[in-house]
Amino acid sequence: MANDGYFNPEDLKRFGEITRYQQTLGRKFFDYYREVFKEGALTVREKALIALAVAHVVQCPYCIDAYTEECLKNGADEEEMMEAIHVAAAIRSGASLVFGVQMINHIEKKTM
Protein backbone atom coordinates (compact mmCIF):
# COMPACT_ATOMS: atom_id res chain seq x y z
CA MET A 1 0.00 0.00 0.00
CA ALA A 2 1.34 3.44 -0.92
CA ASN A 3 2.38 5.52 2.04
CA ASP A 4 3.65 9.07 2.18
CA GLY A 5 5.74 8.80 5.31
CA TYR A 6 6.89 6.76 8.26
CA PHE A 7 4.69 5.98 11.26
CA ASN A 8 1.22 6.02 9.76
CA PRO A 9 -1.22 5.46 12.70
CA GLU A 10 -3.38 3.28 10.42
CA ASP A 11 -0.48 0.81 10.14
CA LEU A 12 -0.99 -0.29 13.73
CA LYS A 13 -4.20 -2.04 12.69
CA ARG A 14 -2.13 -3.99 10.14
CA PHE A 15 0.32 -5.31 12.74
CA GLY A 16 -1.04 -8.83 12.12
CA GLU A 17 0.42 -8.72 8.61
CA ILE A 18 3.92 -9.28 9.94
CA THR A 19 3.13 -13.01 9.70
CA ARG A 20 3.08 -12.57 5.91
CA TYR A 21 6.51 -13.86 4.94
CA GLN A 22 7.21 -15.96 8.02
CA GLN A 23 3.99 -17.48 9.29
CA THR A 24 5.50 -19.84 11.84
CA LEU A 25 7.62 -17.26 13.60
CA GLY A 26 4.95 -14.56 13.26
CA ARG A 27 2.29 -16.77 14.86
CA LYS A 28 4.63 -17.82 17.65
CA PHE A 29 5.34 -14.16 18.32
CA PHE A 30 1.62 -13.28 18.57
CA ASP A 31 0.88 -16.30 20.79
CA TYR A 32 3.72 -15.26 23.07
CA TYR A 33 2.59 -11.63 23.06
CA ARG A 34 -0.99 -12.54 23.99
CA GLU A 35 0.20 -14.83 26.76
CA VAL A 36 2.53 -12.17 28.21
CA PHE A 37 -0.27 -9.62 28.57
CA LYS A 38 -2.75 -11.97 30.28
CA GLU A 39 -3.51 -11.51 33.96
CA GLY A 40 -0.82 -13.42 35.88
CA ALA A 41 1.36 -12.70 38.89
CA LEU A 42 1.09 -9.11 37.60
CA THR A 43 -2.33 -7.63 36.78
CA VAL A 44 -3.18 -6.51 33.24
CA ARG A 45 -3.13 -2.99 34.63
CA GLU A 46 0.42 -3.31 35.97
CA LYS A 47 1.52 -4.84 32.67
CA ALA A 48 -0.06 -1.95 30.74
CA LEU A 49 1.86 0.59 32.85
CA ILE A 50 5.14 -1.29 32.33
CA ALA A 51 4.46 -1.51 28.59
CA LEU A 52 3.73 2.22 28.47
CA ALA A 53 7.03 3.01 30.19
CA VAL A 54 9.00 0.67 27.93
CA ALA A 55 7.25 2.09 24.86
CA HIS A 56 8.76 5.47 25.76
CA VAL A 57 12.24 4.03 26.11
CA VAL A 58 12.07 2.23 22.78
CA GLN A 59 10.33 5.33 21.40
CA CYS A 60 7.66 3.43 19.50
CA PRO A 61 4.75 5.75 18.62
CA TYR A 62 2.46 2.80 17.88
CA CYS A 63 3.10 1.30 21.30
CA ILE A 64 2.71 4.68 23.00
CA ASP A 65 -0.76 5.15 21.47
CA ALA A 66 -1.77 1.57 22.13
CA TYR A 67 -0.60 1.45 25.75
CA THR A 68 -1.84 4.93 26.63
CA GLU A 69 -5.28 3.65 25.70
CA GLU A 70 -4.72 0.33 27.46
CA CYS A 71 -3.73 2.16 30.66
CA LEU A 72 -6.84 4.38 30.49
CA LYS A 73 -9.06 1.34 29.90
CA ASN A 74 -7.58 -0.21 32.99
CA GLY A 75 -8.37 2.82 35.07
CA ALA A 76 -4.89 4.37 35.30
CA ASP A 77 -4.91 8.16 35.56
CA GLU A 78 -2.60 10.83 34.17
CA GLU A 79 -0.42 10.98 37.29
CA GLU A 80 0.19 7.23 37.35
CA MET A 81 1.00 7.17 33.66
CA MET A 82 3.36 10.14 33.87
CA GLU A 83 5.10 8.57 36.90
CA ALA A 84 5.51 5.33 34.96
CA ILE A 85 7.31 7.09 32.12
CA HIS A 86 9.46 8.96 34.64
CA VAL A 87 10.56 5.61 36.00
CA ALA A 88 11.60 4.62 32.47
CA ALA A 89 13.28 7.97 31.90
CA ALA A 90 15.10 7.78 35.25
CA ILE A 91 16.53 4.35 34.44
CA ARG A 92 17.47 5.55 31.01
CA SER A 93 19.28 8.66 32.28
CA GLY A 94 20.77 6.71 35.19
CA ALA A 95 22.12 4.18 32.73
CA SER A 96 23.91 7.01 30.91
CA LEU A 97 25.10 8.78 34.04
CA VAL A 98 26.51 5.66 35.68
CA PHE A 99 29.08 5.60 32.89
CA GLY A 100 30.27 8.86 34.41
CA VAL A 101 32.19 6.65 36.80
CA GLN A 102 34.05 5.16 33.88
CA MET A 103 34.75 8.67 32.68
CA ILE A 104 36.06 9.62 36.13
CA ASN A 105 38.25 6.50 36.20
CA HIS A 106 39.69 7.43 32.84
CA ILE A 107 40.24 11.06 33.86
CA GLU A 108 42.12 9.85 36.91
CA LYS A 109 44.22 7.53 34.82
CA LYS A 110 45.11 10.14 32.26
CA THR A 111 45.64 13.22 34.37
CA MET A 112 48.01 14.31 37.12
Binding site: E39, V44, E69, K73, N74, G75
Partner: protein
Protein backbone atom coordinates in the same frame (compact mmCIF):
# COMPACT_ATOMS: atom_id res chain seq x y z
CA UNK B 1 -19.48 22.73 42.13
CA UNK B 2 -19.35 23.83 38.50
CA UNK B 3 -21.31 22.27 35.63
CA UNK B 4 -19.13 20.34 33.14
CA UNK B 5 -21.20 21.55 30.20
CA UNK B 6 -24.76 22.58 29.30
CA UNK B 7 -27.64 20.41 28.13
CA UNK B 8 -28.03 19.92 24.37
CA UNK B 9 -31.52 21.31 24.79
CA UNK B 10 -30.26 24.54 26.30
CA UNK B 11 -27.54 24.81 23.64
CA UNK B 12 -30.24 24.29 20.99
CA UNK B 13 -28.10 21.57 19.46
CA UNK B 14 -29.68 19.64 16.57
CA UNK B 15 -28.86 16.51 18.61
CA UNK B 16 -31.56 17.55 21.09
CA UNK B 17 -33.96 16.08 18.50
CA UNK B 18 -33.95 12.28 18.77
CA UNK B 19 -34.76 11.98 15.08
CA UNK B 20 -31.54 13.79 14.23
CA UNK B 21 -29.55 11.48 16.53
CA UNK B 22 -31.00 8.41 14.86
CA UNK B 23 -30.12 9.89 11.49
CA UNK B 24 -26.50 10.36 12.59
CA UNK B 25 -26.36 6.84 14.05
CA UNK B 26 -27.81 5.21 10.95
CA UNK B 27 -26.04 7.26 8.32
CA UNK B 28 -22.97 5.06 7.99
CA UNK B 29 -25.19 2.04 7.23
CA UNK B 30 -26.57 3.84 4.22
CA UNK B 31 -23.03 4.42 2.97
CA UNK B 32 -22.28 0.76 3.94
CA UNK B 33 -19.46 1.74 6.25
CA UNK B 34 -20.90 -0.10 9.29
CA UNK B 35 -23.00 -3.27 9.35
CA UNK B 36 -26.44 -2.77 10.93
CA UNK B 37 -26.79 -4.18 14.44
CA UNK B 38 -29.77 -6.27 13.30
CA UNK B 39 -27.66 -7.83 10.51
CA UNK B 40 -24.87 -8.62 12.95
CA UNK B 41 -27.38 -10.41 15.20
CA UNK B 42 -28.78 -12.24 12.18
CA UNK B 43 -25.30 -13.46 11.27
CA UNK B 44 -24.98 -14.99 14.72
CA UNK B 45 -28.46 -16.52 14.66
CA UNK B 46 -29.71 -14.11 17.35
CA UNK B 47 -32.31 -12.19 15.34
CA UNK B 48 -34.98 -11.15 16.14
CA UNK B 49 -34.04 -10.38 19.72
CA UNK B 50 -37.11 -10.94 21.89
CA UNK B 51 -38.21 -9.81 25.30
CA UNK B 52 -38.09 -12.46 28.03
CA UNK B 53 -39.86 -12.48 31.40
CA UNK B 54 -40.06 -9.07 33.07
CA UNK B 55 -37.78 -8.85 36.09
CA UNK B 56 -36.84 -5.18 36.40
CA UNK B 57 -39.08 -2.15 36.21
CA UNK B 58 -36.80 0.81 35.60
CA UNK B 59 -38.46 4.14 36.29
CA UNK B 60 -36.76 7.22 34.95
CA UNK B 61 -38.09 9.78 37.44
CA UNK B 62 -37.14 12.72 35.24
CA UNK B 63 -34.41 14.54 33.41
CA UNK B 64 -33.84 17.05 36.19
CA UNK B 65 -30.33 16.77 37.66
CA UNK B 66 -28.01 18.93 39.75
CA UNK B 67 -25.13 17.95 37.42
CA UNK B 68 -24.52 18.23 33.67
CA UNK B 69 -21.97 15.50 32.98
CA UNK B 70 -20.27 15.55 29.60
CA UNK B 71 -21.10 11.93 28.74
CA UNK B 72 -24.76 11.92 29.90
CA UNK B 73 -26.95 9.76 27.64
CA UNK B 74 -30.07 11.37 29.16
CA UNK B 75 -29.07 14.98 28.43
CA UNK B 76 -30.09 15.67 32.02
CA UNK B 77 -29.40 18.93 33.82
CA UNK B 78 -30.69 21.64 36.14
CA UNK B 79 -32.72 23.27 33.34
CA UNK B 80 -34.93 20.22 32.71
CA UNK B 81 -37.39 21.10 35.45
CA UNK B 82 -40.54 20.38 33.48
CA UNK B 83 -39.74 16.71 32.76
CA UNK B 84 -40.37 14.86 36.04
CA UNK B 85 -42.68 11.90 36.69
CA UNK B 86 -46.12 12.69 38.09
CA UNK B 87 -47.77 11.01 41.08
CA UNK B 88 -50.42 9.51 38.78
CA UNK B 89 -47.77 7.59 36.81
CA UNK B 90 -46.08 6.48 40.03
CA UNK B 91 -49.41 5.26 41.47
CA UNK B 92 -49.90 3.10 38.40
CA UNK B 93 -46.34 1.79 38.67
CA UNK B 94 -47.03 0.74 42.28
CA UNK B 95 -50.17 -1.06 41.21
CA UNK B 96 -48.27 -3.04 38.56
CA UNK B 97 -45.41 -3.84 40.94
CA UNK B 98 -47.92 -5.22 43.45
CA UNK B 99 -50.10 -7.17 41.02
CA UNK B 100 -47.21 -8.70 39.06
CA UNK B 101 -44.86 -9.02 42.04
CA UNK B 102 -42.04 -7.43 40.06
CA UNK B 103 -38.88 -8.41 41.96
CA UNK B 104 -36.70 -5.35 41.20
CA UNK B 105 -37.51 -1.67 40.84
CA UNK B 106 -34.71 0.48 39.50
CA UNK B 107 -34.96 4.26 40.01
CA UNK B 108 -32.96 6.46 37.71
CA UNK B 109 -33.01 9.92 36.18
CA UNK B 110 -31.59 12.67 36.15
CA UNK B 111 -31.24 12.71 39.90
CA UNK B 112 -34.23 10.61 41.00
CA UNK B 113 -34.13 12.19 44.47
CA UNK B 114 -35.06 15.57 42.93
CA UNK B 115 -38.48 14.25 41.93
CA UNK B 116 -40.91 15.74 44.52
CA UNK B 117 -42.62 12.32 44.95
CA UNK B 118 -39.38 10.36 45.43
CA UNK B 119 -39.65 9.74 49.17
CA UNK B 120 -43.37 8.99 49.04
CA UNK B 121 -42.80 6.51 46.24
CA UNK B 122 -39.92 4.74 48.01
CA UNK B 123 -41.99 4.42 51.20
CA UNK B 124 -44.88 2.83 49.29
CA UNK B 125 -42.70 0.68 47.09
CA UNK B 126 -40.51 -0.75 49.84
CA UNK B 127 -43.62 -2.29 51.38
CA UNK B 128 -44.33 -4.35 48.25
CA UNK B 129 -40.97 -4.85 46.48
CA UNK B 130 -37.96 -6.71 47.92
CA UNK B 131 -35.28 -4.94 45.87
CA UNK B 132 -35.21 -1.23 45.07
CA UNK B 133 -32.20 0.25 43.34
CA UNK B 134 -31.55 3.99 43.48
CA UNK B 135 -29.07 5.32 40.93
CA UNK B 136 -27.77 8.16 43.05
CA UNK B 137 -25.24 10.59 41.61
CA UNK B 138 -23.76 11.15 45.14
CA UNK B 139 -23.45 14.94 44.90
CA UNK B 140 -27.20 15.34 45.37
CA UNK B 141 -26.64 14.26 48.99
CA UNK B 142 -24.50 17.35 49.58
CA UNK B 143 -26.51 19.66 47.30
CA UNK B 144 -28.69 21.23 49.99
CA UNK B 145 -30.16 20.90 53.49
CA UNK B 146 -33.21 19.02 52.21
CA UNK B 147 -31.02 16.20 50.87
CA UNK B 148 -28.48 15.72 53.66
CA UNK B 149 -30.54 13.06 55.42
CA UNK B 150 -30.82 10.94 52.25
CA UNK B 151 -28.29 8.35 53.53
CA UNK B 152 -30.50 7.70 56.60
CA UNK B 153 -33.59 7.58 54.40
CA UNK B 154 -31.93 5.11 52.00
CA UNK B 155 -30.81 2.93 54.92
CA UNK B 156 -34.24 2.96 56.54
CA UNK B 157 -35.79 1.55 53.38
CA UNK B 158 -32.91 -0.79 52.54
CA UNK B 159 -32.32 0.77 49.13
CA UNK B 160 -29.54 -0.66 47.02
CA UNK B 161 -27.43 2.36 46.02
CA UNK B 162 -25.62 2.44 42.68
CA UNK B 163 -23.46 5.53 42.19
CA UNK B 164 -21.25 6.84 39.44
CA UNK B 165 -17.68 7.61 40.30
CA UNK B 166 -15.97 7.37 36.94
CA UNK B 167 -12.54 7.52 38.54
CA UNK B 168 -10.77 7.42 41.87
CA UNK B 169 -8.76 10.42 40.72
CA UNK B 170 -10.11 13.94 41.06
CA UNK B 171 -8.87 15.06 37.63
CA UNK B 172 -10.56 12.27 35.67
CA UNK B 173 -13.85 12.53 37.61
CA UNK B 174 -14.10 16.32 37.46
CA UNK B 175 -13.23 16.37 33.74
CA UNK B 176 -16.32 14.29 33.05
CA UNK B 177 -18.74 15.40 35.76
CA UNK B 178 -17.75 19.01 36.65
CA UNK B 179 -15.27 20.82 38.89
CA UNK B 180 -15.78 19.93 42.53
CA UNK B 181 -17.81 16.76 41.84
CA UNK B 182 -15.06 14.47 43.09
CA UNK B 183 -14.78 16.12 46.49
CA UNK B 184 -18.56 16.28 46.95
CA UNK B 185 -18.80 12.60 45.92
CA UNK B 186 -16.18 11.58 48.48
CA UNK B 187 -18.06 13.48 51.19
CA UNK B 188 -21.30 11.72 50.18
CA UNK B 189 -19.60 8.30 50.14
CA UNK B 190 -18.35 8.92 53.69
CA UNK B 191 -21.91 9.77 54.77
CA UNK B 192 -23.17 6.54 53.15
CA UNK B 193 -20.42 4.52 54.84
CA UNK B 194 -21.31 6.13 58.18
CA UNK B 195 -24.88 4.80 58.08
CA UNK B 196 -23.61 1.32 57.16
CA UNK B 197 -23.51 1.31 53.34
CA UNK B 198 -20.69 -0.79 51.86
CA UNK B 199 -19.53 -2.02 55.27
CA UNK B 200 -18.47 -5.67 55.53
CA UNK B 201 -20.95 -6.57 58.28
CA UNK B 202 -23.94 -4.77 56.74
CA UNK B 203 -26.70 -5.67 54.26
CA UNK B 204 -26.76 -2.15 52.85
CA UNK B 205 -25.36 -2.51 49.36
CA UNK B 206 -23.33 0.31 47.79
CA UNK B 207 -22.02 -0.24 44.26
CA UNK B 208 -19.93 2.21 42.28
CA UNK B 209 -19.97 2.68 38.52
CA UNK B 210 -16.85 3.08 36.39
CA UNK B 211 -17.36 4.39 32.92
CA UNK B 212 -14.49 5.49 30.70
CA UNK B 213 -13.73 9.20 30.85
CA UNK B 214 -13.20 9.37 27.09
CA UNK B 215 -13.62 7.51 23.81
CA UNK B 216 -12.33 4.09 24.80
CA UNK B 217 -13.76 0.83 26.10
CA UNK B 218 -13.43 -0.19 29.72
CA UNK B 219 -11.24 -3.10 30.77
CA UNK B 220 -12.11 -6.06 32.98
CA UNK B 221 -14.48 -5.34 35.86
CA UNK B 222 -12.61 -7.57 38.35
CA UNK B 223 -9.22 -5.86 37.85
CA UNK B 224 -10.72 -2.39 38.05
CA UNK B 225 -12.68 -3.31 41.17
CA UNK B 226 -9.52 -4.39 42.99
CA UNK B 227 -7.75 -1.13 42.14
CA UNK B 228 -10.76 1.01 43.09
CA UNK B 229 -11.17 -0.75 46.43
CA UNK B 230 -7.53 -0.39 47.28
CA UNK B 231 -7.23 3.27 46.25
CA UNK B 232 -10.47 4.47 47.87
CA UNK B 233 -9.77 2.68 51.12
CA UNK B 234 -6.14 3.73 51.41
CA UNK B 235 -6.60 7.34 50.41
CA UNK B 236 -10.08 8.18 51.69
CA UNK B 237 -11.08 5.33 54.03
CA UNK B 238 -14.09 4.55 51.79
CA UNK B 239 -15.62 1.09 51.35
CA UNK B 240 -18.09 -0.18 48.78
CA UNK B 241 -19.39 -3.55 47.56
CA UNK B 242 -19.08 -3.97 43.79
CA UNK B 243 -17.68 -1.98 40.94
CA UNK B 244 -19.96 -1.93 37.91
CA UNK B 245 -18.26 -1.23 34.59
CA UNK B 246 -20.41 0.48 31.96
CA UNK B 247 -19.50 1.37 28.36
CA UNK B 248 -20.34 4.89 27.20
CA UNK B 249 -23.22 4.84 24.74
CA UNK B 250 -23.09 7.01 21.61
CA UNK B 251 -26.31 8.79 22.57
CA UNK B 252 -27.03 12.43 23.51
CA UNK B 253 -24.06 14.20 25.13
CA UNK B 254 -21.54 11.40 24.60
CA UNK B 255 -22.55 11.30 20.93
CA UNK B 256 -22.09 15.07 20.84
CA UNK B 257 -18.62 14.70 22.42
CA UNK B 258 -17.65 12.06 19.82
CA UNK B 259 -18.84 14.24 16.94
CA UNK B 260 -17.25 17.42 18.30
CA UNK B 261 -13.87 15.73 18.79
CA UNK B 262 -13.94 13.85 15.46
CA UNK B 263 -13.90 10.44 17.19
CA UNK B 264 -17.37 9.19 16.27
CA UNK B 265 -16.47 6.86 13.39
CA UNK B 266 -13.49 5.41 15.22
CA UNK B 267 -15.51 4.78 18.38
CA UNK B 268 -18.28 3.03 16.43
CA UNK B 269 -15.65 0.95 14.66
CA UNK B 270 -14.18 -0.05 18.03
CA UNK B 271 -17.62 -1.07 19.34
CA UNK B 272 -18.40 -3.06 16.18
CA UNK B 273 -15.03 -4.84 16.12
CA UNK B 274 -15.52 -5.79 19.78
CA UNK B 275 -18.98 -7.34 19.15
CA UNK B 276 -19.29 -10.37 21.41
CA UNK B 277 -22.18 -12.76 20.64
CA UNK B 278 -21.93 -14.23 24.17
CA UNK B 279 -23.40 -10.99 25.56
CA UNK B 280 -26.65 -11.07 23.55
CA UNK B 281 -28.74 -13.42 25.69
CA UNK B 282 -27.95 -11.38 28.80
CA UNK B 283 -28.79 -7.94 27.37
CA UNK B 284 -30.79 -5.93 29.88
CA UNK B 285 -33.50 -5.05 27.33
CA UNK B 286 -34.64 -8.67 27.56
CA UNK B 287 -35.83 -8.52 31.18
CA UNK B 288 -36.24 -4.77 31.82
CA UNK B 289 -39.10 -2.41 31.14
CA UNK B 290 -38.02 1.20 31.08
CA UNK B 291 -40.58 3.91 31.83
CA UNK B 292 -40.06 7.55 30.87
CA UNK B 293 -41.07 10.50 33.08
CA UNK B 294 -44.29 10.83 31.06
CA UNK B 295 -45.15 7.12 31.27
CA UNK B 296 -44.07 5.81 27.86
CA UNK B 297 -42.52 2.35 27.70
CA UNK B 298 -39.17 1.30 26.26
CA UNK B 299 -36.98 -1.82 26.19
CA UNK B 300 -34.19 0.10 27.96
CA UNK B 301 -33.17 3.57 29.13
CA UNK B 302 -31.09 4.08 25.96
CA UNK B 303 -34.07 3.42 23.71
CA UNK B 304 -36.00 5.86 25.88
CA UNK B 305 -33.48 8.59 25.09
CA UNK B 306 -33.74 7.80 21.36
CA UNK B 307 -37.55 7.67 21.68
CA UNK B 308 -37.75 4.13 20.29
CA UNK B 309 -40.79 2.75 22.14
CA UNK B 310 -41.55 -0.93 22.72
CA UNK B 311 -43.06 -2.72 19.74
CA UNK B 312 -46.56 -2.71 21.19
CA UNK B 313 -49.78 -0.99 20.07
CA UNK B 314 -50.23 0.73 23.47
CA UNK B 315 -46.76 1.59 24.73
CA UNK B 316 -47.85 3.52 27.82
CA UNK B 317 -47.83 2.57 31.51
CA UNK B 318 -51.46 3.60 31.96
CA UNK B 319 -52.63 1.22 29.19
CA UNK B 320 -50.19 -1.68 29.22
CA UNK B 321 -50.99 -5.31 29.92
CA UNK B 322 -47.69 -6.54 31.42
CA UNK B 323 -48.38 -10.15 30.36
CA UNK B 324 -48.38 -9.09 26.70
CA UNK B 325 -44.73 -8.00 26.81
CA UNK B 326 -42.95 -11.36 26.77
CA UNK B 327 -41.88 -12.38 23.27
CA UNK B 328 -42.11 -8.87 21.76
CA UNK B 329 -39.25 -8.09 19.36
CA UNK B 330 -36.89 -5.52 20.90
CA UNK B 331 -36.40 -2.18 19.12
CA UNK B 332 -32.78 -2.26 17.88
CA UNK B 333 -30.48 0.46 16.54
CA UNK B 334 -26.78 1.16 15.95
CA UNK B 335 -26.05 2.33 19.52
CA UNK B 336 -26.88 -1.26 20.63
CA UNK B 337 -23.27 -2.08 19.69
CA UNK B 338 -22.35 -0.29 22.94
CA UNK B 339 -24.03 -3.09 24.94
CA UNK B 340 -22.38 -6.00 23.11
CA UNK B 341 -18.77 -4.78 22.96
CA UNK B 342 -16.15 -6.81 24.81
CA UNK B 343 -17.56 -8.29 28.00
CA UNK B 344 -20.83 -6.43 27.30
CA UNK B 345 -22.45 -3.65 29.25
CA UNK B 346 -25.69 -3.20 31.12
CA UNK B 347 -27.00 -1.26 34.12
CA UNK B 348 -25.56 -4.03 36.28
CA UNK B 349 -22.16 -4.02 34.59
CA UNK B 350 -20.41 -6.68 32.50
CA UNK B 351 -22.64 -9.32 30.90
CA UNK B 352 -20.17 -12.06 29.90
CA UNK B 353 -17.00 -11.96 31.97
Amino acid sequence: MRQATQTLRRLRSPLAQTRYQLKVLHQPIETHAFPSFADTLRQHGKYPLKRAKLEILQLNLGKLCNQTCRHCHVDAGPDRKDEVTSKEILQRALELIRIHQIPTVDLTGGAPEMNPHFRWFVEQCSAICPHIIDRCNLTIITAGKQYRDLPQFFARHGLHIVSSLPHYSKNRTDAQRGQGVFEASIEALRMLNDVGYGQPDSNLQLDLVFNPTGAFLPSQQCTLERVYKDKLLRKYGIRFNRLIVITNMPINRFLDYLLQTGQYEQYMQTLIEAFNPATVDGLMCRNTLSVSWDGYLYDCDFNQMLDLKINHPSPHLLDIDIDSLEGLPIALHQACYGCTAGAGSSCSGEIAS
